[in-house]
């Protein structure tokens, strides 16, 4: 771009800027430039101004939009907190429920096992093979039955206190 062209463009820049300022301030000059290039640009500026001068934001619309927005703000600020809190509560609720169920199961199993051990402590001496032949013989027959019964009891206890979904 030579100096002459630059000067011409600078002049166009300035003239168009001044013209735009005037148009947007509603002080549009009655006559446009004689320069066809500038005139076309001025027409485009006028077209922009004319097309968008209406439907600007009214006070009523602005107020309504602000109210809508603030409702959204409040819901944005409360819903996540509430849901987070609820999620936390649900989580801990589940944890507590699960933990109490587990605690009950463990307690039940522990008590049952303790009862079985006590029962064994009482029954095993009775199954002692030392002593009379009759006792020894009956002990020999009883031993597998007692063991089966104990096994059955253990299984029953485990089944009773099995984790329930």
């Amino acid at each position: 771009m030579n100096k002459k062209e630059m000067k011409k463009n600078n002049s166009l820049d300035e003239q168009l800027a001044v013209f735009t300022d005037q148009v947007l301030a509603d002080n549009a000059p009655e006559t446009q430039s004689n320069n066809p290039e500038l005139q076309e640009l001025q027409n485009t500026v006028i077209r922009m101004k004319s097309a968008f001068h209406e439907n600007t934001l009214s006070d009523t619309t602005a107020k309504r939009m602000q109210i809508d927005f603030m409702v959204k703000v409040k819901s944005q600020q409360t819903i996540p907190q509430t849901s987070a809190l609820n999620r936390l509560r649900t989580f801990w609720g589940r944890q507590e429920k699960w933990q109490s169920q587990r605690r009950r199961q463990r307690l039940g199993i522990a008590i049952s096992m303790a009862a079985l051990v006590l029962l064994l402590l009482v029954v095993v001496p009775l199954l002692d093979t030392t002593g009379s032949n009759q006792t020894a013989a009956s002990g020999q027959t009883l031993k597998p039955i007692v063991l089966i019964v104990f096994g059955g009891l253990v299984l029953l206890i485990l089944w009773t206190f099995r984790p329930k979904s």
């Binding site: 800027a17 097309a51 934001l57 602005a62 602000q66 959204k72």
Partner: protein, 180 residues
């Protein structure tokens, strides 16, 4: 989105970050006209309010990440432009044309005061603007939609005033070509 009272914006942003709803309301009230105007120059009328609200919702969601390195107005313009770009990205060109036709038809029916010619003109200008490169569109929006003076435009776009005027002239030239 004028550049006045930047310290007030900074204070309001600081308070908004702490969840102060009055500060959010103040920021909204202060910047709504500029955002609304910018949006209405490039988005079909029926979507202007929705897109404007979405811009402010985006502000609300990401205000905590605003560090204040730039002016709030600059950041807000970026968010607005991003939302506008997203709006157009979601629509294929075919859908856009259909939307524009529907918009013009609805406007013709709903508003008898406005001529169909003026609606067609607005659609053509919006289309012309959307075809411009970003800097051209930005300088036009700063002057027409936000009403900034060339000195303010120069400051906002980090140019000297002569360069801002030159950019404006080239932008209008490109727009005129798009309208042919």
């Amino acid at each position: 989105m004028t550049k006045t009272q930047p310290s007030d914006d900074a204070t309001l942003v600081k308070r908004a970050k702490q969840g102060d709803q009055n500060a959010i309301a103040n920021l909204y009230e202060r910047h709504l006209p500029a955002v609304y105007n910018r949006v209405r120059y490039v988005i079909p009328e029926q979507d202007v309010e929705d897109i404007t609200q979405e811009v402010f919702i985006a502000v609300l969601k990401s205000v905590h990440s605003f560090r204040g390195d730039a002016l709030f107005t600059t950041w807000l313009r970026t968010l607005t432009n991003r939302r506008i770009a997203e709006y157009y990205r979601k629509r294929s060109r075919k859908q856009e044309k259909l939307q524009v036709s529907l918009e013009s038809a609805e406007n013709l029916i709903s508003n008898s005061n406005r001529s169909s010619a003026s609606i067609e003109e607005k659609i053509a200008l919006r289309h012309g603007l959307s075809q411009l490169q970003d800097r051209y569109r930005e300088v036009i929006l700063l002057r027409f939609a936000e009403g900034l003076k060339f000195e303010q435009i120069a400051e906002a776009m980090e140019l000297n005033p002569e360069a801002a005027k030159s950019l404006f002239r080239r932008a209008i030239t490109a727009l005129r070509k798009n309208l042919d």
